[in-house]
């Protein structure tokens, strides 16, 4: 606001005196003039003008009443600092936005002064603002400077005692440059072998250029792995901020990474590159960003639109410093020897100490790397061992689940041990035996088994075979959900089998006995009856059969042989019991021995006819078991006999 404008405003809002402040005489003159322009003959003199005239006020209200009111409102706004602040605030942004450069020029000194005062009063505010931006940059810059110094020192020490070193000292003296700079100029030998341009957001490869003789793995995979390693470092060392890794070194190879806004440039360099190379890489990256910003930002995996950046990358791979040709012949040994002597033992000691320190650092770095490698290897081995053990464990569980009569109800890992629990039929395979076959360390396993009876037909059959041993003539087998008995058996076994069948639990397999033939029925039974009806007759007091009994004996022998053969097919054993009898004449003891003698005689005669003697047993009944009890010769004759009984037994 200029000074004059301020004065106008001041005048405008000056409080009005009670009198209007108007030169009333001049006004009266003006009105007379006006009257004369209407009526030239009017001859009026402005006389007798009173100092106060209410009509004048009325006239003014009529002419500028509205303006007076507006001005009044404006005045209220301007005089109230609060309302004035609000009003100016409303228009200020628009006013500044539409102002030209002069506003900046006018404001700058005031702002500078204000900032200066503020920082002088409390510098911490500014430090807090700048810290995250500036500290990493400073840190990086210092690190690079130190690195560079070390390189130069290293080279200096290496070169200072050679002929070449002396020559370079001379060059430094001649050109006025620092010796270190001269050394660096001559010694840095390197070759940029690979350059990757990697999309920062996805880690995908945008472009890759390799020097003519460089070999590498799949650049797409390398590019993503580099991004992953950068992420890993950023995540693991939060203090690194957003910087990530900018240098990796492996023997003679270095990997230098330069991060840009959308893409990262990674260069694989063989040899000993100067720090200035980093500037070259940086400038290539920023050139690519300048030219292809849009394409880099919207990169989605299709690099065909960015083919031209390869040319920039090729500029990088062209960066190299070749080794000088080998030393020329005619090396001036005397100069070397002299310089060694001049340099003296102190320099030698210094060099030795330097090498020792370097060697120690190298060894400790190697040890650290080995320890890290060993730890990774141990962890990988542990994981592998765990996986192998889990596989064995799951194999064991599979075998348990497959075993009949074992029900696994729980399996898992608890407190570093494998645990399994379930039900086991006592007839099922032993889990401990399965465990030892599975290869899992039994000490790592906790097992808990509850006994139960499986209704699996195999187990019911095995239990049945234990409680009801089947004779040789009977075969038990599983047919569907039944256990079927087949063959022939004695009534004794059959009755025990029926009892056992009734005892089987409901809902499980049942025992089917319908296929078992009772040996006391059928052909066998008939032959047995025929044999038991046979009798061999004797004369009084005679232990040999009466004449004419040979035919009966022949028949009996044949029948017994038939029966034995038949029994063997039915897996039963038929025993022949010969009982001798006597009539009631003579003393009882004599009759008893006579009856035994008669049975013995028949056994011998049967044996003679081919009957197996071990199937025959003999006994004597004396006169106690007469066939006919009447007191007559016919009855006595009938009682002098040998009777035959057939006993059947299940074959075991």
């Amino acid at each position: 606001m200029t000074a004059s404008a301020a004065e106008t405003l001041e005048w405008l809002f000056r409080p009005r005196p009670i009198d209007s402040g108007i030169d009333r005489t001049a006004l009266a003159g003006l009105l007379v003039e006006l009257a004369r322009t209407v009526e030239p003959k009017a001859c009026v003199q402005p006389t007798g003008i009173s100092s106060v005239d209410p009509r004048l006020e009325q006239l003014r209200d009529l002419l500028v009443g509205h303006e007076i009111e507006v001005l009044g409102r404006l005045r209220q706004v301007v005089e109230d600092p609060e309302r004035l602040g609000v009003a100016v605030g409303r228009v200020l942004p628009a006013a500044i936005a539409s102002s030209d450069a002069r506003l900046g020029q006018v404001l700058a000194p005031a702002l500078e002064k204000a900032t200066e005062t503020s920082i002088r009063n409390d510098p911490r505010a500014l430090i807090n603002i700048l810290h995250p931006v500036i500290v990493p940059a400073i840190r990086k810059s210092i690190a690079e400077a130190i690195d560079s110094t070390f390189q130069s020192l290293n080279e200096s020490l290496r070169q200072s005692l050679t002929w070449r070193g002396l020559r370079w000292r001379f060059e430094a003296w001649r050109t006025g440059k620092p010796f270190a700079e001269v050394v660096l100029k001559h010694t840095l030998v390197y070759q940029v072998e690979h350059v990757f341009l990697i999309h920062s957001h996805t880690g995908l490869l945008i472009s890759h250029v390799a020097a003519a003789d460089a070999a590498s793995q799949d650049p797409q995979l390398v590019s993503s792995m580099l991004t992953a390693i950068q992420d890993f470092v950023r995540d693991s060392f939060k203090g690194a901020g957003q910087q990530g890794v900018d240098t990796l070194r492996l023997g003679d190879l270095r990997l230098w990474c330069e991060a840009g806004q959308f893409a990262m440039l990674a260069a694989v360099i063989r040899g000993n590159p100067p720090e200035e190379l980093r500037d070259s890489l940086r400038s290539v990256l920023s050139r690519i960003h300048d030219e292809r910003r849009q394409a880099l930002e919207s990169f989605d995996g299709d690099s065909s639109g960015l083919a031209d950046v390869a040319a920039h990358l090729a500029d990088c791979t062209a960066l190299r410093q070749q080794a000088r040709s080998a030393r020329k012949a005619g090396f001036p040994w005397f100069v070397f020897v002299a310089s060694v002597l001049l340099a003296g033992t102190a320099a030698g000691a210094g060099l030795w100490r330097w090498q020792v320190v370097q060697e120690q650092a190298r060894i400790s770095a190697e040890i650290a790397a080995e320890i890290a490698q060993e730890q990774a290897r141990v962890r990988a081995a542990e994981l592998e061992r765990r996986a192998a053990e889990e596989q064995l464990w799951s194999g064991y569980l599979d075998r348990l689940r497959a075993a009949p009569g074992i029900v696994v109800t729980e399996a898992g890992e608890r407190n570093g041990k494998f645990a399994v629990a379930g039900l086991r039929d006592p007839l099922a395979p032993d889990p401990a035996a399965i465990l030892s076959e599975s290869g899992v360390d039994p000490a790592r396993v906790v097992s808990r088994w509850q006994p139960y009876q499986a209704l699996d037909p195999v187990f019911v059959l095995r239990r049945l075979e234990a409680s009801l041993p089947p004779p040789r003539g009977v075969r038990l087998s599983i047919a569907g959900d039944r256990i079927v008995a087949e063959g022939s058996a004695t009534p004794l076994w059959l009755s025990r089998a029926r009892t056992a069948a009734r005892m089987l639990p409901a809902g499980g397999p049942q025992l089917d006995l319908s296929q078992v033939q009772n040996v006391t029925e059928g052909v066998f039974a008939k032959l047995r009856q025929t044999i038991q009806a046979r009798e061999i007759r004797f004369n009084t007091n005679d232990s040999l059969p009466a004449p004419g009994q040979d035919a009966v004996l022949d028949q009996l022998a044949d029948e017994i042989k038939d029966l034995t053969a038949l029994a063997s097919t039915m897996h039963v054993t038929a025993h022949i019991r010969l009982t001798g009898h006597a009539d009631d004449t003579g003393p009882g003891t004599l009759n008893l021995s006579l009856s035994i003698a008669r049975a013995g005689a028949v056994m011998a005669l049967l044996k003679k006819r081919g009957v197996a003697a071990d199937l025959i047993t003999i006994g004597g009944a004396g006169q106690l078991d007469p066939l006919d009890e009447r007191n007559s010769d016919t009855a006595r004759s009938a009682n002098r006999r040998v009777s035959v009984a057939v006993l059947v037994e299940d074959e075991r």
Partner: protein, 167 residues
């Protein structure tokens, strides 16, 4: 004319679901498995041809961890899609996979993904019911049964995912 595209795909799944076996048999690999135990990720490549388009799926095989907090979410940045792997004989791993999906969606928004129920060759121990599968499919999951041993379902899953991330 053949066009070539690269896409970043993350492979996620619980402990020993067979993710590494899937990768071992079906993809190009130059890095050793020890990267997973150290850096937490291993990069592999699966190349899929879709008509005249060659898609290189750059697979970030993230270390399988049941403790989800140790998963490095920064590795998910820039993924075009992901593969969830679960073990069909252990329903808990399916839970892990679904919870991984929720975490990925919270960080990266909805991305195309494939859910592989691995170890389909151990069908007799299969513990995920058809009803569960139908429910998952109903909720928009592309579920496939796969087997690193027989190769069943694996190629299809990669081809399908490649189609969806390049569409």
């Amino acid at each position: 004319m053949t066009t070539t595209v690269q896409k970043k795909i993350c492979m996620l799944g619980g402990f020993s679901v067979g993710k590494t076996s899937l990768v071992k048999r079906f993809v190009q690999s130059i890095f050793s498995e020890s990267y997973q135990t150290t850096v937490g990720v291993k990069i592999d490549k699966k190349t899929v041809t879709l008509g005249d388009k060659v898609v290189h799926l750059i697979l970030w095989d993230l270390a399988g961890e049941d403790d989800m907090s140790s998963l490095r979410m920064s590795y998910l940045r820039g993924s075009a899609g992901y593969v969830l792997v679960a073990d069909g004989t252990r329903p808990a791993t399916l839970e892990t996979a679904l919870s991984l999906r929720r975490r990925v969606e919270a960080d990266c928004g909805p991305l195309p993904f494939a859910l592989l129920l691995n170890k389909y060759d151990l069908r007799e121990q299969w513990a995920v019911s058809d009803g569960d599968l139908e429910a998952l499919r109903g909720s928009g999951c592309r579920v496939r049964s796969s087997s690193a041993r027989t190769g069943e379902g694996v190629e299809d899953a990669f081809t399908d995912l490649a189609t969806r991330v390049t569409h």
